[in-house]
Symmetry: C2
Subunit: 180 residues, 2 copies
């Protein structure tokens, strides 16, 4: 599917946004993910390999997953592997996942740990309008050529699609004031 | 568009995933966002009102936005407002945004603050395969009926679509070991 995407309209789109500038050393893909995925459409960059075969076996959260002491692996597909340059073992990252098995229509939810229902935006449930999961984890090992990143833990099911990886940065990712 | 989405296939989809259980007090939307948005397709739940009219005027990051001392407002569209139940002023939240003005095809990038180019996944640039921005902010005021949430700062352009709001929770959102 990547080979079918032409470069012409990608360039036109970039120009329309006044965003054609590239600096020395920068490399553009041969295709525009915006076009293979559509507008506000996601492209999966890989899959998570985790110890949890299905949702029922998943830990309740990343803390429980961590307590299980079983690492997980992010497998990044070939087109995206150059994007791993600069990530190192020991580094903390934010992983965004597409919780593909979650329904999206529950606006109020009643998790077991709460006495009363709460709005979806007050909960970390994978069930949400856009089922994007967020995990802050540490890189234990990384093989950029193989697109393989071993992290300390993940609480999602084996095979969950990966949307993004970002470096975790204390000066931007800590809340501005004390919070629980 | 919401009114056009039937409930039948939504129920069928939930049943196929063995996820038909609802607990007392839970409320399902009349439509399934998975169907209005498509598979791995995003639905915008609102827009951010920020002091920055365009990308060029945006602060470089949330820390700089915070130093500017200018709050921002999350405006949530009517269908999603019940999902705000349980969010309170003073609480820290994670906001996921769709960086709609960003191109998506730069796999290596050379930001001014770095001596050498780096992979997109080692950077916090809004330019990425799936241009999802992440901001950890504090709620200053919230009006759930009006769908309005004033937060201490945001570094994105005015009008940026909102994808999700999650409560920030120290026990899951802090990295497991010291990191910068």
């Amino acid at each position: 599917v990547y080979a079918l995407a032409g470069g012409g309209s990608s360039a036109a789109r970039a120009e329309a946004m006044h965003d054609t500038k590239m600096r020395p050393g920068e490399v553009a893909l041969a295709f525009d993910p915006a076009e293979t995925a559509g507008d506000a459409r996601l492209v999966f960059i890989g899959r998570a390999e985790t110890p949890w075969p299905d949702r029922d076996s998943c830990p309740k959260n990343i803390r429980q997953a961590r307590e299980a002491g079983r690492p997980a692996t992010l497998l990044i597909d070939p087109p995206w592997r150059p994007g791993l340059e600069g990530l190192e073992a020991g580094q903390a990252i934010v992983v965004l996942l597409w919780m593909h098995q979650a329904r999206r229509d529950l606006i109020l939810q009643a998790p077991r740990h709460r006495e009363t229902p709460a709005g979806v935006f007050a909960l970390r449930s994978p069930v949400r309008p856009n089922p994007i999961g967020l995990a802050v984890v540490t890189i234990l090992e990384i093989d950029r050529e193989a697109g393989s990143i071993v992290v300390d833990a993940l609480d999602c099911a084996d095979g969950t699609p990966i949307l993004d990886i970002k470096p975790w940065i204390a000066s931007v990712d800590l809340p501005p004031s004390p919070a629980s």
